[in-house]
Amino acid sequence: MKAVSTVSRRVSLISAACPVVALLLRGVPIRAEEVPLVAAAADLRFALAEIAERFTRETGERVGLVFGSSGNIARQIRQGAPFALFLSADEAYVLDLARDGFTRDEGTLYAIGRLVLLVPNGSPLALDGTLEDLARAIRDGRLRRFAIADPAHAPYGKRADEVLRYKGIREAIRPFLVYGENVAQAAQFATSGNAEGGIVAYSLALSPQLQALGGHAPIPAEWHAPLRQRMVRLRGAGPVADRFYGYLQAEPARAIFRRYGFVLPGEPVTE
């Protein structure tokens, strides 16, 4: 009697565990193999979403988008993240990954990024891309918080840091700086109502979402090293990723990049 109940209890335990095991072994519905994952620098958040939507509309094929700072994505790729395509805001990350054998090839340059001064509605800062008014605001106490992306691993943060250094206000502005994990978060900080402004990607400032929240003024491109944005197919890239990679270099996608303020390789800068 006792033996029977022990056995039946064990059987019921096993049958209770079965759905758990089944769940564990189930392929998660949206798998990397079926829908290739595209990891992209945060400055592409709006432009790439538009391109991917158009790609799906035209071909019926889908890609998954993951945004972050280029440095973080590169680190995740080294740790085995299942991405098929990587659109970096700084080509150095792509070339390093290529050197260490994580990619198919050295990829291709797809855009040159631009920096802008972002000033939210109601901020006392002037829309001045030469940053003269920013320097004055530090001195006269108008500035309390200023947002940039983290220079340690976000390319737009690194270039913003260079711009501040070029203007000779990097040390003076340091106590006022807040750092976004990536450039989209920096833009979010800048427009949250808790900062007087920030230096962010032109491509973000041109999005309808951000245009509703504030204005922007371009910062001279000569003040920082160029934001050479390179993309590359990773080892696991399949046919859909290949087609999307090609699509990104074709005219409809290029037009969208252009509309978001990117300078395209081989094309002149237009203000």
């Binding site: 022990t6 758990v20 949206i30 829908v35 988008l65 085995g80 993240a81 989209a184 979010q188 951000l210």
Partner: protein, 222 residues
Amino acid sequence: MDWVALRLSLELAGLTVLLLLPIGVALGRFLAYREIRGKEILEALVALPLVLPPTVFGYYLLVAFGATSPLGRAWQALFDRPLVFSFEGLLLASLIFNLPFAVQPMQRAFEAIPTDLRAAAACCGMSSWRVLLWIELPLAWPGILTALVLSFAHTLGEFGVVLMVGGAIPGETETIAIAIYDRVQAFDDRAAARMATFLLLFSLATIAVTFFASRRVGRRLG
């Protein structure tokens, strides 16, 4: 509302609780009744995720699960895909960082059972399995329920560890908490607010249900 992320969160929390139930009962009971040397160290290890910053914890898990770690390599060889940035890796991380939430309430519940009651049961010739099933579990279940609800709610809300070992991949490791973070960065405040409200109400409801249930049980047993 990001249904994919919500479903993923619920699956993760549900599986975590299911798997933590036997682990927590075994470990909580062991810590409650056994006197062994170095028990304090074991208890400290279980409590560690409570005090460690999630990023520190996430960093160590990332190192332990990574493609170059023994565990990561073994997993890759067995299943032909990496453990980090996968649902399974997230579940493993979730089991570890929920350990104190599951074990501690269960341990307290087992400790609260009078020793003579268990001794009497043993005297009557009940096997320890039967004592567990017929004496201990019925008395300890408010604590067990609390443990499971806390683990469930904590899994829904965990952010730092999930971001570190998960990588925010939609449908695979992007939980609802991560989706909220992502929506804020996409300037989609409406979606972020909707999901945040949902999580708030959901957490409130689960906690309220536990309080209600454990009070009723307390009254019945008292």
